[in-house]
Amino acid sequence: MSYREVWTIAEQCQGDIREVSYEILTRGRALADKLGVKLASVLIGYKVNKEKIEELIYRGADKVYLAEAQELENFIVENYGNVLIDLISQYKPEIIIAGATTSGRTLMPYVAVRVNAGLTADCTDLDIEEGTGNLLQTRPAIGGNILATIKTPNNRPQMATVRVKSTRPLPVDNKRTGEIIRINLKPGLIDGRVKRLGFRKTEEEAVNIQDADIIVAGGRGLKKKENFALIRDLAKRLGGVVGASRDAVDRGWISYPHQVGLSGKTVSPRLYIAVGISGSVQHLAGIKTAENIVAINIDPDAQIFKVSDFGIVGDLFDVVPAISERLSAIKGERNG
């Protein structure tokens, strides 16, 4: 059988499908259309909400390969890997795309070495090369200072992880139809060596900064821990979450999961507001693909202004409260 079909890897959590699953269908749809092949979403889990599975089709998939078992309830790379490898040998996809999430970035390299596939991490752009039909994968490297375009000419499947939030899900079209193919798990695919003992949610406010549309981030300019209240307040008003520079994290003002940048997380929100952050190369590495960057800094020469779409040179202790105040005034008008 020759290699056909574009696959995207859906992610679920306690039976609910994660947003990134729909985002990557948008990528997959574009590629499948260019190649004239079917697009399938691969969903591994347990007791996943039926309507949500159908939504995969409404948002672009032609097929869903559904592998469900109690042992697959949570992501364990050995189990998920075995299932995916088995599916690949059976159905031979040409391209496989996963989100560059903690599980996507674990599953894909694990599988790629077993199936002799090329894998490109954290892509921001995917396209098909004219003539050859090869997948062109573009990704930032060296802290975002260069963009490299990579292809895998001789091996199939071609695999890539793509940056979370770097595309939007397609609108729901409930006239779309597709096939849901339930996979009967072959014996022996559940590895059993690794056990998940538990899960502890991060205590503070939502820190899933990679999934957020709006991030308000604070840096050393805040001067002390208590002043992060300003950032939290602004984030709340905008419906966003709180991020931070490494300097703020290292000083213990806020916990590590909030850190944005080279040794923290790479984010692509629609709006990133950097408050009292100088814009070091390492910090910028994490925000290069943010859609809009707003910077507030007292130093007109701060690097952050070079990459910002809108910058305010001023004292954050004046500027941030003024923004918050204006936002509540606007809200008052709307409600009043």
Partner: protein, 265 residues
């Protein structure tokens, strides 16, 4: 407890300067260092050795000059280093690199734990750690933020995932890739430095490891870089000053306008 840590030598990029006109990195005077994210793995390895005994071996695949990275790790407290070098390795992508490193670890033989950095700051893929685990068919925990306990042949770890911390239990040997939160890297000691100067570092070539040449270097790499481009660094956005009450008020007006235009509020 025998621990193996693959480390990578990378250009010191914390002060990367970009040539604004050409958009290229100014490489002059750029030093080579241990991948900063590997320091956390090295620290954990040394701490575990101190607690449980055994030894820590660092390995690297790279040019001859990467030996310096191994000596630096030994100065911090690691015991041995192995340098994997040769022109046959040139052009290895993460598939081929994982293959070579896993083969080297096989050759080392007995090990209980492999610790890798979350990712290297130059290639920035984070694929090599999981790749090594996959080749060796040993259990894997990525984004490991804490080692909870090690008893007999079992390890319990926490990993930092999107919305919290997950606890996993797995048998040894296994591979952990670690995040910054797991440790606070120590500095090299004087005694360590003296040891590092003297210690002999074996050098392994592809032949020493009996490697299939079609699986290493460019030949063994499924991926090909076809183009490098330089993204626009400056966005050329609007910059406004807020130095007094009046200019502050105007700045906020403009900001609100900006946010409304972009449909952000």
């Amino acid at each position: 407890m025998n621990i193996v840590i693959p480390i990578k030598q990378v250009p010191e990029t914390s002060n990367v300067k970009m040539d604004e006109e050409t958009g290229t990195m100014i490489r002059e005077g750029v030093e080579s260092i241990i991948n900063p994210l590997d320091l956390y793995a090295i620290e954990v390895g040394i701490e575990l050795k101190e607690e449980h005994g055994g030894k820590v071996t660092v390995i690297t695949m790279g040019p001859q000059s990467a030996e310096k990275a191994l000596r630096e790790a030994i100065a911090m407290g690691c015991d041995d280093g192995i340098l994997i070098t040769g022109k046959e390795f040139k052009g290895s992508d993460t598939w081929a690199t994982s293959f070579v490193l896993s083969s080297a670890i096989r050759k080392i033989g007995t090990y209980d734990l492999i610790l890798a950095g979350e990712r290297a700051t130059d290639g920035d893929t984070g694929q090599v750690g999981p790749g090594i685990a996959s080749f060796l068919n040993i259990p894997l925990s990525t984004y490991t933020s804490r080692i909870v306990e090690i008893t007999d042949n079992t390890i319990i770890v926490e990993r930092l995932i999107e919305d919290g911390y997950e606890t996993l239990q797995m048998p040894l040997p296994c591979l952990l890739t670690v995040v910054k939160e797991i440790s606070y890297p120590r500095l090299p000691t004087l005694r360590g430095k003296q040891k590092a100067k003297k210690v002999e570092i074996p050098v392994w070539s592809a032949d020493d490891m009996d490697l299939d040449k079609s699986k290493i270097g460019l030949n063994g790499s499924p991926t090909r870089v076809v183009r490098i481009s330089h993204p626009r660094i400056a966005r050329g956005g609007t910059i406004v000053k807020a130095t007094d009450e009046e200019s502050l008020s105007r700045a906020i007006d403009k900001l609100i306008n900006f946010l409304q235009e972009k449909n952000l509020i």
